[in-house]
């Protein structure tokens, strides 16, 4: 019953995007998100849409997987859009009872919908094409400079990858514990909220105990192999930039410049031509 839940949504495929260095993907995602807030006007977003479409095409991940991520924010998105649509003061377009839609409100609502939508799809592309382990590796290497100001970057990355690694194990364990308690006629479904919460105790206690035991065992195993944290530690698969990574960076910079230029220049050009 719990088996359907998957965390981390990596989609296995052989594409240029999959092969890129995780740092490139992380950096690009951050830049892309920033660009969504820097760009302005319909032409800037046209460039962003084009860029996103190109990356999705290259990634060979079916589009419906990108949309999946959207489902979780539909609620948030609709609230934002509705509030902005009705509550922005300005030049009125339509009046429904006490609420009016203004020109500025419509503009803001559309803008927000595009920003949020692209933001989610953009970050989905990253998580779909990068395994969680690659991500933490990339993050660790990117944040390395923070070591100077005593941020334990390696430890944080290690904790993240261990947490990710343990999710499927604990899922399986939950399934087993659930079955063992169901065999003793436990009831996880009926009753009101308080009873339901109480019925989780026979599930959570063994799960926590097993999680602590596993953590303890892992710590022992790591210590037995003389693990001492980040200092002087080498990697089995060190990250190295390849030619395609530099090309990717150049494309991203072109995209940023292109987007800003398009947002500023095209309206001017258009008005000149029209005039």
């Amino acid at each position: 019953m719990l088996r359907e839940i998957t965390l981390g949504q990596y989609y296995q495929a052989d594409s240029v995007i999959h092969r890129l260095d995780p740092r490139v993907k992380l950096g690009t995602t951050v830049l892309f998100i920033i660009s969504l807030f820097v760009f302005d006007g319909i032409w800037g977003y046209a460039v962003a849409a084009l860029f996103l479409a190109l990356v999705i095409k290259l990634s060979k991940v079916p589009f419906r997987f990108m949309i999946k991520g959207m489902r979780s924010i539909v609620f948030l998105l609709s609230i934002t859009v509705i509030f902005n649509l009705f509550l922005t003061p300005g030049e009125p377009l339509v009046q429904i009872w006490k609420f009016g839609i203004t020109k500025e409100g419509l503009r803001l609502a559309v803008l927000l919908a595009i920003r949020l939508g692209f933001l989610i799809i953009g970050s989905s592309v990253m998580t779909l094409t990068t395994t969680p382990n690659q991500l933490t590796d990339g993050l660790e290497k990117m944040l390395k400079p923070l070591n100077r100001i005593k941020v334990p970057v390696h430890e944080i990355a290690m904790m993240m990858s261990i947490a990710l690694r343990f999710i499927p194990i604990l899922m399986e364990e939950t399934d087993k514990i659930m079955k063992a308690q169901l065999a003793r006629c436990a009831d996880f479904e009926s009753g009101n909220l308080i009873r339901k919460a109480k019925s989780l105790v026979p599930l959570l206690v063994p799960l926590f105990i097993s999680a602590f035991r596993r953590a303890n065992d892992l710590a022992m195993a790591m210590e037995a192999r003389c693990y001492r944290g980040g200092e002087h530690r080498t990697k089995m698969k060190p990250l190295h930039y390849a030619g395609r990574d530099y090309i990717a960076y150049i494309i991203v910079v072109c995209y940023l410049v292109g987007g800003i230029a398009a947002g500023k220049l095209i309206p001017v050009l258009l008005s000149n031509i029209l005039a």
Partner: protein, 290 residues
Amino acid sequence: MPIILDKVSHIYGEDTAMAVKALDNISLVIPDGQFIGLIGHTGSGKSTLVQHLNGLMRATSGNIYFNGEDIDADDFDKKMLRSKVGLVFQYPEHQLFETDVFADVCFGPKNLGLSKKEIELRAYEALKLVGLEDDYFYQSPFDLSGGQKRRVAIAGVLAMKPEVLILDEPTAGLDPKGRDEILDQISKLKRETGITVLLVSHSMDDVAKYVDRIIVMNQGCVMFDDAPREVFKHYEELETIGLAAPQVTYIMKHLRDHGYDVSDEITTIEEAREEIKSFFARFAAARKER
């Protein structure tokens, strides 16, 4: 109450690329009062099979009848089924959660909605049946040894007064002494209460001594289903699927191969002792005649 399986199959991940057939067209009858050993190598489908018997898993195709009723019917009372067909899983750590042993054993009967007095009576009886001393009743279940934890887990299921008791690898992870103690206790419990017991194991030596019927599973199918000595006659086929007859059976076969006239249908050490004794008696008698 008998359990009947009619052409039961189970496929994991049906309709995906990774579909695995865990059970393949299994038909079995589990009558009242038998002591059955279910044997198979890891991944042979034995754990999947036992989870079908109390409705924790649903067959992909085929039907299972408990006392003549189809357990997958919509109006079938699964809770009743689970109290009648008690399943004890391999790891007691998966079910122990209460602050003391006694409260933990009370969990099953409490879920059946019985009165407090009845619950405590059943818990006490169950703990006595598994042979746990009174000193342990109010200890934390997490402070017990492996063997004792297993006893508490078995008691937790027995307290529901099941008619069929299924034990999934009750000896896994126990030392030889703990193993023998648990198996002796189960055998004693079987004699005292007369319930049906299904013992899941991958070790022939474990079950040969106790059970009256052995079901051997391989790759989701039932390979043999017969009395132990009949099953062990096929020891060569058993070896090809990674199982073996009890060690003592091999000793007797070797003796026979070396020209000693002993029976090769021996499955337990006690039988072997008697057989060897009688062989010497016959040998001595034959010598005297000469």
